[in-house]
Symmetry: C2
Subunit: 355 residues, 2 copies
């Protein structure tokens, strides 16, 4: 069963919760906008369903609600941002602003972030660049759930990569993908339904391929993109995300990335501070006049969209499904499953905020 | 059957061929070094086996042996390089030098290239940055052989992405991957052996999955990374490579990318000039002191390499197999299949160069 709440209703509630844990008005608004971007775009696993998780991390003293986010190291086109243990939902947008400002100055800007927490969906951060006629790039490392090719140990997160590219008359191109075959949220759905998962999504504790939706829970691991026949590519991409996000910034990497769930303790011997992100902004007109670029981008998009397709299907442009979902949910509201509603009521009761 | 030739022997021969088509001494050396990097690293499909292909393109008037490669547009951290129709084997390294010089100045450098040709293996170009304590990135678009998810048309190339990261005591990290499940070269091997190909590599002309090694030849297409269950991710990555390499520079993109084989004509209505590449260089010390970065990179590498693994296997670091192969082939020589030897003899005879 699901209850549908309007975006504005959910926004007010979530904002009030972030204020209750001590966020400034400005940060609470920013965190809410970032978090609910996931719900709007249909990536329900990364949206308000995680609000209770963020609150529990704060209760465990692992989120600083009043971080002093700042640049600690820089060149004209690069910076390292220290998130001061803040919400990734707040640290992320502030770091992306630094990348955009650098791009304004010298054509591109590249920011690696340490001492942060989970930042919602990568696509939201990459899309920030679009308003400035820039391409946006966003990555983050995440709790270790993924086994590199041949590994029995979980050493990487689902480590997403997002790339946003502005177009002219056509809607923007927005790629936002985990570097695993399937996101953990899809396993959770299969667990609830008790249905087997496809080959290539996960492995058992002994490294054999699994169709058991509980495989990861039982000591197995998610598989990198490419699954059974080519997981070395997904492993390589996930590794690049980890290195750019954390080895470059001084955050924790690999198995040391702090878990999102508050009941698991972070490593007692961390190799860095918090978790890491990586952001990029490239001005389109640092390469060619923006109008020229956009005309060709429109041509690229319409060529792909209008390609001959398999019966009953059509070729999508990355970002199409999420944009359509966003338009729909802004009007019709956001459906929330009963367990999510229950979690939100629990959080609301804690702070005297009514859902 | 195979004949083994020493690297230096093959180098002299290849260099003489490039001089014979009109390359300057300097460009012939550069082109040879770039091309043979593929043979050394064990990526036989992209090495000297393609020399005859480059010569045929030159005969068809589609390669300029004396290009004036230059920057046509720039900001402090970006440039567009015009390859003037030259060999990608020459244009690529020159464009990467521009990226490295920009990185020296402002921390990072990003170069999009138009009017070029095939550039060999992406990994070679990315690795150029390592000597300067920089991370290197290289991408290229390529002849359309790949169908986006649901498409019956081939709109993308195998569009590789390479990322090279320097380490300290450990060998460098070098990811070099096509954004398809399998490279076309693997299909060619299966064709010769007349063995079926795994699910997820290719589709038939009607869009159904195929295990026929001749599927692509017969109007089918290669599948993006992710194959049967997640090709939208590989499609998205291949699309980003196409956009960064060509829409950004003014090269041909999508179905307009000129074919490598001389018997197929380029589009009569191109949307840009030649094919496109994209290069990046990021100074490690634009983010943190290089020694610090390298110490953590060594820790990253040893952690992954020493992870508990599936019986009889171990976890590899991207670049391990190619580096080992390179060491071996420098000493033992490069094995070449009989059809390749025959092609080289044909090319040699044309110019009076003895193999």
């Amino acid at each position: 069963m699901a209850t549908t709440l309007s975006y504005t209703h959910l926004f007010s509630f979530t904002e009030a919760v972030f204020k209750s844990i001590g966020c400034s008005d400005e940060d609470a608004t920013l965190a809410t906008e970032t978090l609910l971007a996931a719900d709007l775009r249909g990536i329900d696993s990364h949206g308000v369903a995680r609000l209770i998780g963020y609150v529990r991390l704060w209760e465990a003293g692992r989120i600083n609600p009043t971080p002093r986010v700042g640049v600690t190291y820089e060149t004209p086109s690069t910076a390292v941002v220290d998130g001061d243990g803040g919400l990734g939902l707040v640290v992320g947008p502030k770091a992306m602003e630094v990348a955009i400002e650098k791009a304004r100055q010298v054509g591109t800007g590249w920011v690696s972030v340490k001492n942060s927490n989970h930042f919602g969906i990568a696509g939201y951060h990459a899309m920030k660049a679009l308003a400035y006629d820039m391409m946006g790039i966003a990555m983050t490392n995440a709790s270790p759930l993924v086994a590199p090719t041949y590994s029995l140990e979980r050493l990487l997160g689902t480590n997403p990569i997002a790339v946003a590219v502005p177009a002219g008359d056509q809607p923007d191109f927005v790629l936002d993908m985990a570097t695993t075959t399937a996101a953990n949220g899809k396993l959770e759905i299969a667990q609830r339904k008790n249905t087997p998962i496809p080959e290539g999504w996960a492995q058992n504790a002994d490294g054999t391929g699994s169709t058991d939706p509980n495989a990861v829970k039982n000591g197995g691991a998610l598989l990198p993109l490419g699954g059974a026949t080519g997981s070395h590519k997904g492993y390589g991409l996930g590794a690049v995300v980890d290195i750019f996000s954390a080895v470059l910034s001084g955050a924790n990497y690999g198995p040391w990335v702090p878990p999102f769930v508050a009941f698991l303790q972070p490593s007692a011997n961390p190799v860095g501070e918090g978790l890491g992100h990586f952001f990029g902004a490239m001005r389109v007109d640092a390469f060619r006049p923006a109008a020229e670029f956009k005309a060709h981008m429109d041509n690229w998009i319409t060529t792909f969209r209008n390609a001959r397709a398999v019966e009953g299907q059509h070729v999508l442009i990355p970002g199409d499904p999420e944009r359509e979902m966003s338009g729909k949910r802004l009007i019709e509201g956001i459906p929330l499953l009963d367990p999510v509603i229950k979690d939100l009521e629990t959080v609301g009761a804690k702070f005297g905020v009514k859902l």
